[in-house]
């Protein structure tokens, strides 16, 4: 029998619960840090900035909350949501539980693009780190796409092409770091590769938020097509799904979402692989439920991971990718262990 805790709950309740959890986690992220700021101040700051109220506030606290912590938390939420939704889509399309957003070589390509800007100085200062990472991601994705098409285009071919592309671009990154970087630069690259929300400001929000919202809506429009892939592409086609069109649209969508996020915050691992599995244990396999659940859970997870990355070691910020893996892996093991009777 099925045993998904939330599968039969009212959708409206689950959505409300999820959004409340997301709002709370973002408020906490704005409150917790080297300087702890009361939640009341967070609420007043948001009210002042968004609704034009004139609560009297400490200017420094208001600045920290609005200019640093809130923008950072919102980008973390967008990034977590986008990676988790991309993971759900890729696992369904490729019918492989190991598929994740970086499987198409995006993270490896982004790292090569980033080190080219950071260390070699490509673009002569005119190209930002994010821009370089995005360009690298697109380059790697194109190569993987060509390889996959040239080898026949089946799911396993896409995965193999992704592995080959990732290896190539990772090797190029290592080559550049090993030959051209000094110790300080190498440390910076390592931090960036593990995910870095440090330099995030509001302009990044205005890029990340539309990307994840549009991506989510397009994914939801394909929820039934994704369901139909459960028995493979031929079965989906026999049930009236335009397999080629759906594949092209959704691969492009996940690539765009992932490349945009990697460009902003570097490659944060684990979220796109594991959140989809965790969410499946909560709400079951129907994508109309799975996609929104992944969006919210992925968002909350990364916001909380970011808080931990800032408070875990005093006076130091850990790369958020370290935290996602360090705390996500045992949590996931626990879910797997508890769910061993569910199937």
């Amino acid at each position: 029998m099925t045993s998904w805790p939330l599968a039969s709950a009212r959708p409206i309740l689950v959505v409300a619960l999820g959004l409340a959890g997301l709002a709370l986690s973002i408020a906490l992220a704005a409150s917790i840090g080297e300087m702890t700021i009361p939640l009341e101040v967070i609420a007043k700051t948001v009210s002042n900035r968004l609704f034009g109220t004139t609560h009297a506030l400490n200017r420094i606290q208001e600045g920290v909350v609005w200019d640093y912590r809130l923008s950072r938390a919102v980008v973390a939420a967008c990034c977590g949501g986008a990676l988790a939704v991309s993971g759900v889509i890729l696992q369904a399309l490729l019918r492989n539980p190991l598929a994740e957003p970086y499987v198409l070589g995006i993270s490896a390509g982004a790292s090569t693009g980033a080190v080219l800007v950071m260390i070699v100085g490509v673009g002569g200062g005119a190209v930002t780190l994010s821009g370089g990472a995005f360009a690298g991601a697109v380059a790697a994705l194109s190569l993987v796409g060509l390889l996959a098409l040239g080898s026949g285009g089946g799911s396993d071919r896409v995965l193999l092409a992704g592995v080959a592309g990732s290896q190539l671009f990772n090797a190029m990154t290592s080559f550049i770091v090993a030959t051209a970087a000094n110790a300080e630069q190498a440390r910076g690259v390592l931090f960036w590769l593990l995910g870095n929300l440090g330099g995030v400001r509001w302009p990044d929000v205005w890029l990340a938020l539309p990307v994840v919202l549009v991506g989510f809506v397009v994914a939801m429009l394909h929820a039934r097509a994704l369901d139909a892939f459960a028995f493979g592409a031929d079965a989906a086609a026999a049930m009236g799904v335009s397999v080629t069109r759906v594949r092209v649209v959704l691969f492009a969508l996940t690539a765009a979402m992932t490349a945009a996020m990697v460009g902003i915050v570097g490659s944060i691992g684990f979220v796109g692989l594991v959140i989809p599995h965790a969410v499946r244990f909560l709400v079951g396999h129907r994508h109309a439920r799975l996609l929104p659940a992944a969006l919210v859970v992925g968002a909350v997870f990364l916001v909380l991971a970011d808080i931990l990355s800032r408070v875990l070691v005093a006076q130091q910020v850990l790369p958020v990718g370290v935290v996602t893996a360090l705390f996500g892996a045992p949590a996931f093991a626990l879910i797997l262990f508890r769910a061993r009777h569910a199937r």
Partner: protein
């Protein structure tokens, strides 16, 4: 006229797998495709299910080229049950059968009474109504095949294509599945290995050999020692059962 093929050819890498097949399916009847491994049964079914595009020739549904129909329109009319279809997802029988409603639902249209009725009817037709909440992983081979046929029936097709639906099933389940297919109120095309089962359950048979249609007709016309010898390369004698007058194929050794 329902599905018909006219001089259909298709192959992979220059190797012809279906080589000039012209065949018409009779409405409401069960057509069996027989032939050895690699004779083109599965390929022909996949072409008829529009999963592959013909290299030349044309396949028609009600005299319209199926390549001109949209995928959804086609899937509301013709359903296909694959061989060895399975999933890793933890789906219930009900989830699987619900998938069959995909061609009838828009991206935003909610689940409605017609969908629920079609699913209930399909589950009842295959005798799985009492097992609708069972998980896919817990089903036997026969139950999985029934669930997949129910998924196809939930599409409310008028044509049903089945690729070796009895493969890997024990004899009781083979008989049950084919009896089920035979009594469904749809036109069926079934690829089959077992000649005696084909004789038992099909109204007409088409024998394929190396991608070509050797002959088509009633089981009496097709299952002759000559055809079996030519198509399968084995010696056989064909008799009528003294018990019920049905055809029986006996294979001769040596």
């Amino acid at each position: 006229m329902t599905l018909a093929t006219r001089d259909v050819r298709w192959g992979v890498g220059g190797l012809p797998l279906v080589d000039g097949v012209t065949l018409a399916v009779e409405p409401g009847r069960t057509l069996g495709l027989i032939g050895p491994n690699g004779s083109g049964k599965s390929s022909l079914l996949r072409l008829m299910a529009r999963l592959r595009r013909v290299s030349s020739g044309v396949i028609t549904l009600e005299d319209r080229d199926i390549a001109t129909l949209s995928r959804r329109t086609f899937a509301r009319r013709v359903a296909f049950v694959e061989q060895h279809a399975t999933t890793d997802a933890a789906l219930t029988v009900l989830d699987v059968v619900r998938l069959g409603r995909t061609p009838h639902r828009g991206a935003l249209s909610p689940w409605n009474a017609a969908d629920a009725a079609a699913v209930d009817t399909a589950l009842a037709q295959v005798g799985m109504a009492d097992r609708r909440d069972r998980l896919w992983h817990s089903l036997s081979g026969g139950e999985r095949q029934r669930a997949l046929i129910a998924r196809a029936l939930a599409q409310c097709p008028s044509e049903l294509l089945l690729d070796e639906p009895t493969n890997h099933l024990d004899i009781r389940h083979q008989l049950e599945i084919l009896a089920l297919v035979q009594r469904l109120p749809v036109t069926s095309v079934v690829a089959l290995h077992d000649l005696n089962l084909a004789a038992l359950f099909c109204d007409r048979l088409a024998a394929l050999h190396q991608g070509r249609l050797v002959c088509v007709g009633t089981p009496e016309e097709v299952l002759t020692p000559d055809v079996i010898g030519h198509v399968f390369g084995v010696r056989a004698s064909v008799e009528r059962s003294p018990r019920d007058g049905r055809l029986q194929v006996h294979f001769l050794l040596g």
